[in-house]
């Protein structure tokens, strides 16, 4: 395992050197490096429990860590296919390539960390290296907000880590965190600080502000990694703080709602809030990438709720949703990136009809959103289904409602780019664009195939998740052949897929038997017999859900709150500057006297 880190470390140096010579070469090298990482981590699947140390960093292979690392590596690997084609858009291509691999090292290290310090070091490495990548995108502001929100999480983790190490006297994760079974009060503090990091990184309401900014304006090749990959670091922290950290014991005495302790329930409510908020905001967006970013907020809510449930179904659903969302979201972002590469924009109202020029990209996007919206037979369905079953089994009706809202709301927002970017009228300026090049297509097809595979044979993954559940001592999800069984329901996705295919086949036959249709142009549509010659005018891409958006357009947004907070801090700084750091020495002398008097009066008593 240490070898993997050393290898990746060396390859990031190598990619820097290569990129200095020829940026594209270095970018191709990132593909190879991440593939090598992927394969070597995959080969570790049977060596659970192995511990290795590298200098003062200690690593251990765990099933969950392996699972997370595989997700991350998949996303990094597939997104790397896009790197070579964006090199000319970046002003620091060499830095991009090496930071790309550095953030990969950081994230994988996080998942394999055996002690808290390693955990934190890897966490921060991933954060700052990815921040420097985001910076190369369209907005410095975005990178900055990303860093600041992450810093809130980082600092609270650091606090939790250090306090844990101080109190428990050990830094080994499991040992240190289980110490709190005996110290619930400190435990609550540590839990709060710890989970805060998870919340900021997953992008849970109200810490979601960085997602739309960073995902929306990061280089197109890195947005999939941010959304599909780095957000999952937060999920890992959430996992640690509820599964490894004995959260249910620590809060054992608190008020329980349907068997869930109140603080954890409160966090779930936050998850539910981010589902609802993310959904509503995603519906409003005009930019495809920002829309997908808000969808990551919503999906983060599912993941958080699932993980916090710590039960047979929802927990498995949450863990599986991680993978499903990573794959689907990466595919969707990549598809949008491919479109942006050809058209130069991600604004939905400026696009349209791209399907007629980029059909494969369209298919990729379609399958991705089907998975993201949780429609069978794609992966997203299984995980959402498990979460629904888990929530309704416990009777957590508010959360279940939010989950349902997010699920059905997601039809609305995922359909929007589908309709506005890919379907509808093709603008003449995009008449001559071509399909994405084969390298990009390969990456997208890998993800698409994964989405489908996960949907049809979810048990491939659920088996691993069951293993994790057994390790944690909770009732594992039951996997029987192709059927997935839970306490209150079962589903056999292969059968569902077969039946769906059967229905599709029936109708296909019907369609083929009937007379063939005549192909007409896109502009030959019913327009109340009005002649329209400008395709752009006949394209419905702007304010897609106007009547619905109107219902909540006046709702306050969270970002201004942060801006105001930042402004208040600045003002406080200004006040301090003018009050205590005034250049006039008279004031300083006055202050000396004041302090002296205060001390003397105080000390005399």
């Amino acid at each position: 395992m240490t070898m993997i880190f050393i290898f990746l470390g060396l390859s990031l140096l190598l990619s820097y050197v290569l990129s200095r010579k020829q940026p594209t070469l270095g970018a191709y090298f990132t593909i190879i490096a991440s593939l090598a990482g992927l394969i070597s981590v995959y080969l570790l699947r049977n060596s659970v429990g192995v511990t290795e140390s590298f200098y003062y960093l200690n690593f251990q292979i765990t099933t969950i860590g392996w699972y997370f690392a595989m997700i991350l590596l998949t996303v990094y690997f597939t997104s790397a296919f896009f790197n070579p084609f964006w090199m000319d858009e970046l002003i620091y291509p060499a830095a991009y390539n090496s930071l790309y691999l550095l953030s990969l090292v950081g994230t994988i290290g996080l998942f394999f960390a055996q002690d808290l310090m390693t955990l934190f070091i890897c966490w921060e490495t991933a954060v700052w290296s990815s921040m420097l990548i985001v910076q190369q995108g369209k907005s410095r502001q975005a990178a900055w907000v990303y860093f600041v929100i992450s810093a809130i999480g980082s600092m609270s983790t650091l606090f939790a880590v250090l306090l844990t190490m101080y109190l428990s006297g050990t830094s080994e994760i499991t040992g240190a965190l289980t110490y709190f079974t005996t110290a619930p009060v400190a435990g609550a503090l540590v839990f709060g600080a710890f989970i805060l990091a998870g919340l900021t990184k997953i992008g849970i309401f109200p810490f979601h502000v960085w997602l739309p900014l960073a995902h929306g304006s990061a280089p197109h090749t890195f947005s999939p990694v941010l959304s599909g990959g780095l957000v999952k670091m937060g999920a890992y922290i959430a996992y640690l703080s509820v599964a490894v950290f004995p959260a249910y014991q620590v809060f054992g005495d608190s008020l329980k709602i349907q068997g869930v302790p109140l603080p954890i329930y409160g966090l779930m409510i936050l998850g539910a809030a981010s589902i609802v908020y993310g959904t509503l905001r995603a519906i409003q967006q005009e930019d495809a990438k920002r829309l997908l970013a808000y969808s990551s907020v919503a999906n983060g809510g599912y993941i958080l709720i699932g993980i916090l449930m710590m039960d047979q179904m929802a927990f498995a659903g949450g863990l599986m949703h991680l993978l499903n969302h990573a794959v689907a979201s990466a595919a969707a972002f990549l598809a949008i990136a491919a479109v942006a590469k050809r058209t130069g924009t991600t604004k939905m109202s400026e696009l349209g009809g791209i399907i007629h020029r980029m059909p494969i990209t369209y298919t990729v996007y379609l399958i991705a959103i089907i998975s993201m919206a949780g429609i069978p037979p794609m992966g997203g369905f299984v995980s959402k289904w498990l979460i629904f079953q888990g929530l309704s089994e416990k009777g957590l009706i508010l959360l279940a409602t939010a989950a349902a809202f997010g699920s059905i709301g997601s039809y609305m927002y995922v359909f929007r780019p589908l309709s506005a970017v890919f379907l509808g009228q093709l603008a003449p300026k995009y008449e001559h664009i071509k399909e994405a090049n084969p390298v990009m297509v390969t990456a997208m097809l890998i993800l698409t195939a994964m989405s489908l595979l996960l949907g049809v044979l979810p048990n491939l993954v659920l088996k691993t998740i069951a293993k994790i559940q057994i390790e944690l001592g909770i009732n594992p999800i039951i996997v029987n052949g192709t059927a997935t069984l839970t306490e209150n329901g079962s589903v056999d996705m292969l059968q569902v897929f077969t039946v769906f295919g059967f229905g599709f086949l029936l109708i296909l036959i019907l369609f083929m038997v009937l007379p063939k249709s005549r192909r007409v142009g896109l502009m030959d549509t019913y327009t109340s017999a009005e002649f329209i010659h400008t395709p752009e005018l006949l394209h419905y891409g702007h304010s897609f859900y106007a009547p619905f958006e109107r219902l909540y357009e006046k709702w306050p947004s969270v970002l201004p709150l942060y801006k105001r907070m930042s402004m208040k801090l600045s003002e406080l700084g200004e006040w301090a500057e003018s009050f205590f750091f005034h250049p006039d020495p008279n004031r300083a002398v006055l202050w000396i006297v004041v302090v002296a008097i205060v001390v003397i009066i105080g000390g005399a008593q």
Binding site: Y362, I370, P376, Y411, L418, D492, Y526, L538, F548
Partner: protein, 302 residues
């Protein structure tokens, strides 16, 4: 999974189509009678559909056709999942979430096909249809969650059979009256019956998603509508009205429920789409929550 399953499945689709299409024809007569007209023949709906199939057609590109096939295929598959009077082509696949999400495949296909036509009205219609879906599905889902919590099963056939055998008072509609009312209101939304039919407003947006369809695609859309109606009414029937002990009882109950929605919608005006959302989130969602809280926290309904 044997060949017989697939044959049963095919028969189920066919049967559902014939039954629901006849019922639609009868209901067109019912509506006509409401309006003091004679109305068409009871088999008029068949004629309409077959006529559409018999005409020539156009296509706006592959997604236009693919979407239509995917829509009807998805819906046909969903029909196969629906348990009718305890009968199922594929036993064990009748989880409520599976059904309601496979249904979404059809809807997505239709939306895709419609938007693929390049007609902005189609997109507007789709946007309204999806908004409408968000409106009616949430209250309905709350009720569904309550049901699953109460009976500890997500299987539609099991939920139906639990209600049978104790007469009419065993029905969830009477055990959970608020939830029952909510789901019947939601049924109006699902079926696109007035007052929730703004997404196909013919005069305003030229029948919305249907605007570009003609010929066989139009026929497919009509078929789709019939099958979708079958699924939705069956769902409510199974969940709240005890399904049916025998096929005949099932069909009679079904006919009554469907005719009821039709009669009510016959005297209704139309909500704007945002009004529909506000309505669903005020009244039915509120009722559904009250029902849910009563069941979950106060144990009512056991």
């Amino acid at each position: 999974m044997t060949l017989m399953n697939f044959i049963y499945g095919f028969l189920a689709v066919l049967g559902a189509f014939v039954f629901q299409t006849s019922l639609t024809g009868i209901n067109r007569k019912v509506t006509a009678r409401l309006q003091k007209r004679r109305g068409p023949k009871w088999y008029q709906q068949f004629i309409d559909i077959f006529k559409a199939f018999s005409k020539s057609s156009i296509t706006h590109g592959w997604v236009y056709d693919f979407g239509a096939i995917m829509a009807l295929g998805g819906i046909a598959a969903t029909v196969i999942f629906i348990p009718v009077a305890g009968m199922q082509a594929f036993p064990g696949l009748d989880n409520i979430f599976v059904i309601s999400y496979v249904l979404a495949v059809g809807m997505l296909g239709m939306a895709m096909s419609a938007a693929g036509s390049g007609n902005p009205w189609a997109s507007i219609g789709v946007s309204r249809a999806l908004t409408n879906m968000l409106a009616y599905d949430i209250p309905f889902m709350v009720v569904v969650f309550t049901l699953i919590y109460q009976h500890n099963t997500g299987s539609v056939s099991e939920l139906a059979s639990i209600q049978q055998g104790v007469g009419i008072l065993g029905w969830n509609f009477f055990k959970l009256p608020l939830g029952g009312i909510v789901s019947v209101i939601a049924l109006f939304g699902m079926l696109g019956k007035k007052p929730f039919d703004s997404f196909i407003a013919p005069a305003e947006i030229a029948s919305g998603p249907m605007v570009e369809y003609g010929g066989k695609q139009l026929g497919m859309m009509f078929t789709l509508h019939e099958l979708m109606t079958f699924i939705e009414v069956s769902l409510i029937l199974n969940l709240f009205f005890g399904g049916g002990e025998t096929l005949l009882i099932y069909m009679v109950k079904y006919a009554i429920l469907y005719t009821f929605t039709n009669i009510v919608s016959g005297v209704m005006p139309r909500f704007k789409i945002d009004q529909a959302v506000t309505f669903f989130y005020k009244v039915p969602l509120g009722l559904a929550f009250i029902q849910g809280l009563l069941v979950i926290y106060l144990g009512w309904g056991y």
